[in-house]
């Protein structure tokens, strides 16, 4: 598959009064053309910061320290702000978590839809309006002409998120970054939105980076999964592999904490005990070792490299248990095998 976006050794820090917080600490991954990649992990693991870094929209006091974000051959981190503005909304667009707060309450849906079309493509108002209507039709919003004159508060949550998606699609971007697009929606609406994203991505051959902590959403949409923990990628592979043969104890923990329909009611969910680490003073060695049931001596001192497995070279895990000399633990958690 042709690579669209390539993130290499991205490091983003926030400079707080207490010191430097390395929110993203050396993250590398690729997104192929038309591929959907999910980034999962707990709150504060650096998912959203990674997304905002790709768009170069890190708020103060954050700063992208180093790395490369190569989109179709261009390193976005080297662009000047003016050039970057031409990339945002045109080549890369974003869908945010909360459609209640992500739309400007005092501007009409139509205005907010046309805005990026007018900005990025040399079109007149009538053409922009036509495009806005088309975008709303694409996301299956009924009577789109009427919606243009409406304000966000006149739409339901699901409708607003559709409008957000329409906005993100309006300039036919190469990549959509969806930051928790369904978290604040009803479960029934969640399914609709995911289905919609899936269809649209297939129709328009748009690549998607899906940021979520909802593993159900991941299974429904993603081709590949990146598991992040404390600013680093801990596991990375095709979605089927991640579900069928997870390698990292953190991924095991994530999977075990998800309720499954095919489990009996008596099956208890197992939480991951403890708190994500304080990124001002991240643990030495493997960052997950203080919470890991299988931590060994080496985990406390040495950072694990990415091990591939015998079966496929595309599935990587940063865990010492994958070392040939490591003891074989019951790698597959109960909840998944059962």
């Amino acid at each position: 598959m042709e690579t669209l976006l390539s993130v290499k050794n991205l490091k983003t820090s926030f400079f707080t009064y207490a010191g430097e917080v390395k929110a993203v600490d050396g993250v590398s991954f690729d997104v192929g053309l038309g591929e959907a990649v999910a980034v999962v992990g707990e709150s504060g693991c650096g998912k959203s910061v990674t997304a905002m870094s790709i768009q170069r929209l890190i708020p103060e006091p954050g700063k992208i320290m180093s790395g490369e974000v190569i989109l179709a051959g261009r390193d976005l981190l080297k662009l000047r702000e003016k050039e970057m503005q031409k990339v945002r909304g045109k080549d890369i667009s974003m869908i945010f978590q909360d459609p209640m707060t992500s739309l400007n309450p005092v501007l009409t849906i139509g205005y907010q839809l046309m805005e990026s079309v007018v900005r990025h493509e040399n079109v007149d108002k009538a053409k922009a309006r036509q495009r806005a209507i088309e975008s709303l039709e694409m996301v299956r919003i009924p009577s789109p002409e009427k919606r243009l004159a409406q304000y966000p508060h006149q739409l339901s949550g699901g409708m607003r998120q559709r409008a957000m998606i329409a906005m993100a699609l309006s300039c036919r971007p190469k990549l959509i970054i969806a930051d928790e697009p369904t978290t604040s929606l009803d479960v029934t609406i969640q399914a609709q939105i995911i289905e919609l994203l899936k269809e649209l991505a297939r129709e328009t051959k748009t690549s998607i980076i899906l940021i979520t902590h909802n593993l159900g959403v991941v299974a429904g949409l993603a081709d590949r999964v990146i598991v992040m923990y404390a600013g680093k990628i801990v596991e990375y592979g095709p979605v089927k592999e991640i579900y069928a043969d997870p390698r990292h104890p953190y991924t095991w923990g994530l999977l075990k904490s998800v309720p499954r329909l095919d489990e009996s009611d008596k099956q208890r969910l197992v939480p991951i005990y403890g708190q994500p680490p304080d990124l001002l003073k991240p643990p030495t060695g493997c960052r997950f070792h203080p919470r890991c049931d299988y931590a060994m001596k080496i985990c406390q001192t040495e950072e694990p490299p990415y091990f591939t497995s015998d079966c496929c070279s595309t599935h990587l895990a940063s865990c010492w248990l994958q070392h040939p000399a490591a003891p074989k633990v019951s790698a597959i958690p109960k909840a998944v095998t059962a």
Binding site: Q55, L57, K82, Q85, R88, Q97, L103, N104, P105, Y151
Partner: protein, 310 residues
């Protein structure tokens, strides 16, 4: 909308009536009267005067008569200035007060709003610190200190501007306008700063940026309309207060405006003038508040102006 305005109009009338009644009672509760002077006035003349203006009648009767006149928009004659009515005063002096008032409101908006927005976008940088330093001075130093200071420096020491002479030269307006504008200017800057800070942390500003808008477009289209609300709120009573004259500034710069007239009417016990100007100011204030509420509806589509349903 029309129903809403009508409702507000009637509630304003009630508010005005309460205002008139309270002012009337308080005014008459204070000892002395418009014709009490240091010089002893012969009893007969005093009685004559009181009879002429109806002050010898029992208070309830005076009150009813006055209300009747007000309904006919007649605010009565001045007791102190023969042959002049309160309506004359307003016609003559309101334009003067309004002129300085409008100028200072324009000045305070033009400087205060950009200062607040810039402060917010440069939060805790030197631009912010400088603007907020000036704003704190503006908010905390009263105009009756600013005005004499300006006068001392610009008029007496540097001789750049005249200290008085209203109407002779445009230069006369400079100092009153500045001293009048300082407080609203500082208030606008502070209101605008805090509301802008609030707005730029909102998700929809992130959305706007992620669309690739330039910083200026983000500020102009997405920040301003949301952040201007507190300023609009403050603008209503401010316009009423400043346009109907400010007591201190007009006194200091010898400007023949309504504010100065107001102060005089109190010391002169000029009942009708005092009452009349109070009503005028009150009506103006109520009108401005209504206007502000209507403007809200245009600025924020979530606010709908509708009357109560029965």
């Amino acid at each position: 909308m029309a129903r809403y305005i009508l409702q507000r109009f009637f509630s304003a009338l009630i508010a005005l009536w309460v205002l008139i009644t309270i002012t009337f009672i308080m005014m008459h509760a204070v000892p002395g009267g418009p014709f009490a002077t240091e010089k002893a006035v012969p009893e007969a003349i005093l009685r004559n005067l009181e009879q002429k203006y109806g002050l010898d009648q029992p208070l309830p009767k005076q009150y009813i008569r006055y209300l009747g006149n007000v309904i006919r928009l007649d605010l009565g004659p001045s007791y102190k200035f023969k042959g002049q009515t309160v309506n004359d005063f307003i016609r003559r002096e309101f334009p003067v007060s309004a002129e300085i008032g409008i100028l200072s409101i324009i000045l305070s908006l033009l400087v205060g709003i950009p200062a607040g927005v810039i402060s917010a976008f440069r939060q805790n940088k030197w631009q912010d610190n400088a603007a907020m330093f000036v704003a704190i001075i503006g908010v905390s130093v009263p105009s009756f200190i600013v005005a004499p200071l300006l006068m001392y420096v610009l008029a007496l020491k540097l001789h750049w501007l005249p200290a008085a002479m209203w109407g002779m030269t445009w230069k006369q307006a400079v100092m009153p306008v500045i001293s009048l504008a300082l407080l609203p200017l500082a208030t606008f800057a502070r209101l605008m700063r805090s509301s802008t800070l609030d707005v730029i942390s909102q998700d929809y500003i992130k959305t706007a940026r992620s669309k690739g808008l330039s910083e200026l477009q983000v500020v102009w289209r997405h920040v301003m309309k949301n952040a201007i609300m507190p300023v609009v709120t403050y603008l209503g009573p401010l316009i009423a207060g400043i346009l109907t004259g400010t007591f201190v500034i007009e006194q200091i710069f010898a400007i023949p405006g309504l504010g100065r007239e107001y102060v005089w009417s109190v010391t002169n016990r000029d009942y009708t003038v005092l009452l009349g100007l109070t009503i005028f100011y009150g009506a103006f204030l109520l009108m401005m508040n209504l206007l502000v509420d209507i403007v809200y509806g245009f600025l924020d589509p979530r606010i709908q102006l509708t009357g109560h349903k029965e």
